[in-house]
């Protein structure tokens, strides 16, 4: 890692001068292309959402995000996402721990399985859970069209975030401090709380932030299993979808703008935590 800052520092100047002299490619062209593409694909469309959300003035925006149905959907989304993030913080860390510190046959297969929710299309994730925990599932548990179904779907799609954030940190953790604490008579729970947890905290927070952000915007895995009942199991993304379908794009844009604002805060928090994690 040591030569990294030096090489990136010189990198800023040398190729730039070279390419400008030759007049081919070059950072200016690359920068132009990159920014133009990002603007066309991402920034203009998102700007259109923000502009449309204020189409009818601030009053109309406020009415759209405080209608009873919108408040119910946004509240459910936030509560469920917080719950899912909390479960992930505990279970994700636990799974990472087992994958790093424990040895058992088939561990590598289990390790590979963790990424399955990222590889599986979200609509299939919904279908998968419905097959087991739906009305005709073989286990006799039917969560279809309940809030539990929303939680289940979100737990499925957010599983890898905390595990994959915590795992590398746990692998790189020096064992000396734990062994010292152990030889001084500390209980395992004390060692975990005082030595391991502080080291894992930045990674856990980063993973939890990503899981929360994903949960707030999730759509595909929820749409089949939740039944989308207004005031009951309708989350914000499903509400927005319904508003688009019925032609109420201004209302949809207002709720979307609020969700984008929440995502933005989460993204900022993650980059802040990540930077603090690197600094440690």
């Amino acid at each position: 890692m040591c030569p990294l800052p030096a090489s990136t520092a010189t990198a800023g100047r040398l190729p730039g001068r070279r390419v400008r002299r030759q007049g081919v490619g070059g950072p200016l062209l690359a920068g132009g292309l990159s920014v133009a593409w990002l603007t066309l694909i991402v920034l203009i469309p998102l700007a259109a959402v923000l502009v449309r959300s204020l189409d009818g003035g601030v009053g109309a925006f406020w009415d759209a995000v405080t209608s009873a149905q919108a408040v119910a959907a946004i509240r459910l989304t936030l509560i469920v996402s917080l719950l899912v993030a909390a479960v992930n913080a505990v279970v994700g860390t636990l799974i990472a721990w087992v994958l790093v510190r424990d040895e058992f046959p088939g561990k590598r297969i289990v390790d590979g399985l963790i990424d399955l929710p990222f590889a599986l299309p979200t609509i299939v994730a919904g279908l998968v859970l419905l097959a087991l925990y739906g009305p005709s599932g073989p286990v006799g548990i039917n969560v279809a069209y309940t809030r539990a179904a929303v939680v289940l779907a979100l737990l499925f799609v957010t599983l890898p975030f905390v595990v994959r954030a915590v795992q590398p940190v746990l692998m790189g953790l020096e064992r000396e401090a734990e062994e010292a604490a152990d030889s001084l008579g500390a209980k395992p729970s004390t060692i975990f709380r005082r030595i391991i947890l502080p080291a894992l905290r930045p990674a856990m927070l980063a993973g939890v932030g990503l899981a929360f952000g994903r949960a707030v915007g999730e759509f595909g895995s929820i749409v089949l299993i939740s039944g989308n009942l207004p005031y009951e199991t309708e989350v914000a993304s499903v509400l927005v979808y319904g508003q688009i379908e019925s032609g109420n794009t201004t209302g949809a844009a207002a709720v979307s703008a609020l969700l984008l604002f929440i995502s933005f805060i989460v993204l900022l928090a993650i980059s802040f935590l990540a930077r603090r994690g690197v600094a440690r």
Binding site: Q22, L38, P45, A119, V124, V223, Y241
Partner: protein, 257 residues
Amino acid sequence: MSRLALRAVALSYLAALLVVPVAMVFHRAFEKGIGPAWDAVTTPPAQHAFFLTITIALIAVPLNAAFGVITAWLLARHDFRGKRVLDVLIDVPFAVSPVIVGLALILVWGRDGWFESTEVIFSTPGMVLATIFISLPFVVREVLPVLEEEGNEQEQAASTLGARGWQVFWRITLPTIRWGLTYGVILSTARAIGEFGAVAVVSGKIQGRTETLTLYVEDRFQSLDLTGAYAAGVVLALLGVTVLALMTLLQRRHGRI
């Protein structure tokens, strides 16, 4: 004792949430034998959905790969004002709900939109734009760390010895980032094939015309054709599992993680 308990908790959680449900979909799809499942995924609308999905991925992924390599090179090798902003903006598509992506595209390209066009929304170009949006960050995020780790000594040496800009790129930079680029392309492809929400909003879900494989799964499910839904779901799951296996294999061979 506590080690065993932790292991048991972790494995049961994974079994209940991942393994058993996924196995169940395979069971459901083939409950009535291979025949009905095969028939369900070879109907004309299913085939159309399959080829449309592949077509969209074949357009979106190369464009994102080009953008990804250029942007990663820019971020790794140059300092400029607004670099940090660009770095953060790259990740925006990961933080935006797919439904909002669809809405955003309708507001730009749809009726009364900023760049109103009859060719984009409820048609393939709109679905391609949605797919590009949601899979935009993958290649940058896989290539950038490789470029940063490797440094640019080799590139400098080549250019000192008289190599031109493009020669340096083809002979030095591209071979250096090839595995990062491969991971990025694989992840983008998986995401492009599996996208549902954004494509659902902009496609209009016209069977045999704008229905991708994920939309076809929902369509079959809503039409109560469960064998069709589960069979098409299995096709998508197999694509996903293949991607996963490919990634794991490559990463083990090339010593990452």
